[in-house]
C-alpha cells in the first residue's frame, strides 16, 4: 500500500479504492486495528461494527473486481453518533435508559445513503446523554476525550464523533446539532463541521431531541470530505415532515473550487468579546482572510439565544416526561434537572420563544441582501478541562455548560447552514462559524475551502500511538 491510511482523507481513500491501489478490505482492517489500539485512550466508540464493516468492504471489492462502477465514498470508513439507527445496534442516544430498547431493525436513511455510496460502517460513537450537552462528558459511558489533550473536553454532544475523527480513526463521522452539537465538538477538537440548513437532511432513523431545532451533519478533517459526505446524504424523505421535499440541491463538492464572489461581514455585538480573546482573534483572522468589509451587530441575537434555550428546554421535557415520571434515577442528574425545569416552564414562554425565532429570522434575511457570508466565533472558549463547571467570561466566573453555546444557539435557532472551521491560536484550536442564508451550503463550503487553502484553517490528526 502506498497510501498512509492513518492520514488519508475520505477523498484520498475513495480514489485509491476506486483506482485499485488499495482494497476496501485493507482499509477496513487497518481502521479496525487503529480503533482497537487508540479508542481506549479517547473513549469515542460505544460499538464497533467489525463484522458489518468487513462485509461492506468485501462488497465494494467484489463490485470493483466485477467491473461495476463504485460510489463516491468507495471504501471510506465512517462512524455515527449513537443516536443514529444502525441495524443490529442499540440506539443508545448516550443514555442508560435505552440499553433495554433492543437493537435497531434497520439503518436510518443517512446511513443507508452513505453505504449506498460505498462507505464502510465502523460503528457507533459516544455522546452526551440524549444530546442535552456541550461537553462530551457522559455519566454512564465516561467522557469522550479530546485527542489534542486527553484531559480536555471533546465538546458535545457529538463528542465521540469529533474525537474519532481528530484521532484519525475514521475520516468522517456523523453528528447531530440542536444548539451547536456538531459545531462545538468540531471547534474543541480542531475539525471542520457542517450543520446544514434546517430541513435539508432527514432526521428519520435517529433518536430525537428537539424537533424544532434538530439538524444532522458530518464532521471531517478536510472541507472536501465534508462536501463528499454531505452530497451523498442529500435528498428528500417523506418520513421526516421537516425535511423539505423541494429543497434546491447544491453540489458542495463543486463549491470547493467555485470562484464565487463572497460578500463577507464579521458579526460583532453579541458575537464578540464574551470569552477568551483567542476566539475573537481566530474569527477576525478568518474574516480578514475572506475579505470581510464590515463588522456588524444584530440586535436579535440575544433573544434568539434565549428562544433556543426555552424551546430546547420545553420540547426536550415534553419528549422525556413519561420516562422521567417512571425512572428519573436512570438519567444523568445534570440532564434530568434541566428537563424537569423545562416541564415546569409555563407554555406562554414557549410560544413567545417561537415568535422571537421568526423575528430574528427576518432580521437575518435582511442582512443577506447585503452580505452572503457572515463570520463569528463558534465558542467563547477553547476546550475546557474535563470536569470544569465554571468559566471566566467578561472577567466574571459563570457556569460553563450553558455558556458554551452562546454563539452557536442563535444561528441554529433559525436553521442557517454553518461550517465551523478550525483556526489554531496556540496549541488549542478555536472554531470559526461561516454562516450563509438558508439552502446555501455551497457558500459556506466554498468559503471554508478558501480558508483551508490559505492555511488559516487546518485539521491535523492527533495520533495517540
Amino acid at each position: 500500500m502506498t497510501l498512509d491510511l492513518a492520514d488519508a482523507t475520505a477523498t484520498e481513500v475513495a480514489a485509491a479504492v476506486s483506482g485499485g491501489r488499495v482494497l476496501a478490505r485493507e482499509v477496513a482492517e487497518d481502521t479496525l486495528s487503529r480503533i482497537d489500539a487508540q479508542n481506549p485512550a479517547i473513549n469515542a466508540f460505544t460499538d464497533v461494527t467489525r463484522a458489518r464493516m468487513l462485509r461492506e468492504a468485501d462488497g465494494v471489492d467484489a463490485m470493483r473486481s466485477s467491473g461495476q462502477a463504485l460510489g463516491p465514498l468507495a471504501g471510506v470508513p465512517f462512524a455515527v453518533k449513537n443516536l443514529f439507527d444502525l441495524a443490529g445496534v442499540v440506539t443508545l442516544a448516550g443514555s442508560k435508559l435505552r440499553r433495554s430498547a433492543g437493537p435497531a431493525v434497520e439503518d436510518g436513511p443517512l446511513v443507508r445513503r452513505l453505504v449506498a455510496a460505498g462507505a464502510l460502517t465502523a460503528g457507533a460513537l459516544n455522546m452526551g446523554e440524549f444530546a442535552y450537552d456541550f461537553t462530551g462528558e457522559n455519566v454512564h459511558y465516561g467522557p469522550s476525550r479530546n485527542p489534542h489533550d486527553l484531559e480536555r473536553m471533546s465538546g458535545g454532544s457529538s463528542g465521540g464523533s469529533a474525537a474519532a475523527v481528530a484521532a484519525g480513526l475514521v475520516p468522517f463521522a456523523l453528528g447531530s446539532d440542536t444548539n451547536g452539537s456538531i459545531r462545538v465538538p468540531s471547534a474543541f477538537c480542531g475539525l471542520f463541521g457542517l450543520k446544514p440548513t434546517y430541513g435539508r437532511l432527514p432526521r428519520t432513523g435517529t433518536f430525537p431531541f428537539v424537533d424544532s431545532l434538530d439538524h444532522l451533519g458530518p464532521i471531517a478533517r478536510s472541507v472536501a470530505d465534508l462536501a463528499l459526505a454531505f452530497d451523498a446524504m442529500q435528498g428528500a424523505d417523506p418520513e421526516d415532515p421537516v425535511c423539505a421535499p423541494d429543497a434546491p440541491v447544491v453540489s458542495a463538492l463543486a463549491a470547493t473550487d467555485d470562484p464565487m464572489e463572497l460578500r463577507v461581514a464579521r458579526l460583532g455585538g453579541w458575537f464578540r468579546g464574551q470569552g477568551e480573546p483567542e476566539t475573537d482573534v481566530a474569527a477576525d483572522r478568518a474574516a480578514q482572510a475572506l475579505g470581510a468589509v464590515a463588522d456588524i451587530e444584530i440586535e436579535g441575537a440575544a433573544p434568539a439565544r434565549a428562544a433556543a434555550f426555552v424551546i430546547t428546554n420545553v420540547e426536550g421535557a415534553a419528549l422525556h416526561l413519561d420516562d422521567m415520571r417512571k425512572t428519573p434515577e436512570a438519567y444523568d442528574p445534570f440532564v434530568r434537572d434541566r428537563l424537569a425545569a423545562g416541564a415546569l416552564l409555563p407554555g406562554v414562554h414557549y410560544v413567545r420563544a417561537q415568535r422571537a425565532r421568526l423575528t430574528f429570522q427576518r432580521q437575518m434575511r435582511a442582512l443577506f441582501d447585503r452580505y452572503n457570508l457572515l463570520i463569528a466565533p463558534t465558542t467563547p472558549m477553547r476546550a475546557p478541562r474535563i470536569g470544569d463547571q465554571t468559566c471566566e467570561i467578561g472577567g466574571e466566573t459563570v457556569p460553563l455548560r450553558p455558556n458554551i453555546g452562546v454563539y452557536t444557539q442563535p444561528i441554529s435557532c433559525i436553521g442557517l447552514p454553518v461550517v465551523s472551521c478550525p483556526v489554531w491560536e496556540g496549541p488549542r484550536p478555536c472554531g470559526v462559524q461561516l454562516i450563509a442564508n438558508a439552502w446555501r451550503e455551497d457558500i459556506v463550503i466554498a468559503a471554508a475551502r478558501r480558508l483551508e487553502a490559505s492555511g488559516i484553517s487546518s485539521a491535523p490528526i492527533r495520533r495517540l500511538i
Binding site: 440548513t197 434546517y198 430541513g199 424544532s212 423539505a244 453579541w270 464574551q274 436579535g300 440575544a302 433573544p303 439565544r305 434565549a306 428562544a307 434555550f309 426555552v310 428546554n313 416526561l321 422521567m324 415520571r325 428519573p328 442528574p333 434530568r336 434537572d337 434541566r338 424537569a340 425545569a341 423545562g342 416541564a343 415546569l344 416552564l345 409555563p346 414562554h349 410560544v351 413567545r352 420563544a353 417561537q354 415568535r355 422571537a356 425565532r357 421568526l358 423575528t359 430574528f360 429570522q361 427576518r362 467570561i393 467578561g394 466574571e396 459563570v398 457556569p399 450553558p402 455558556n403 452562546v406 436553521g415 438558508a438 439552502w439
Partner: protein
Amino acid sequence: MTDKSLSPASDALVEAFAETLGLSIDEAARPAVRANLETALRLAESLEGVGYEAAPVFRP
C-alpha cells in the same frame, strides 16, 4: 449577556408544578431544578415584547 448565579425561587412553586405533571422531584434535586427553572424563566422573560407580530409557525 451570560448566565450568572441565580436568585432563590420558591420550593413550594416547584413542588406544586411538579405535582400537577406527576413528576417526583426529590429534595436533593430540588435546588438544581429550581436553579434551572430560574435560568429558563429569566431568559424567557427577556423575550417580553419580542416577535409578537410573528405567527408561531416556522419555515426555513
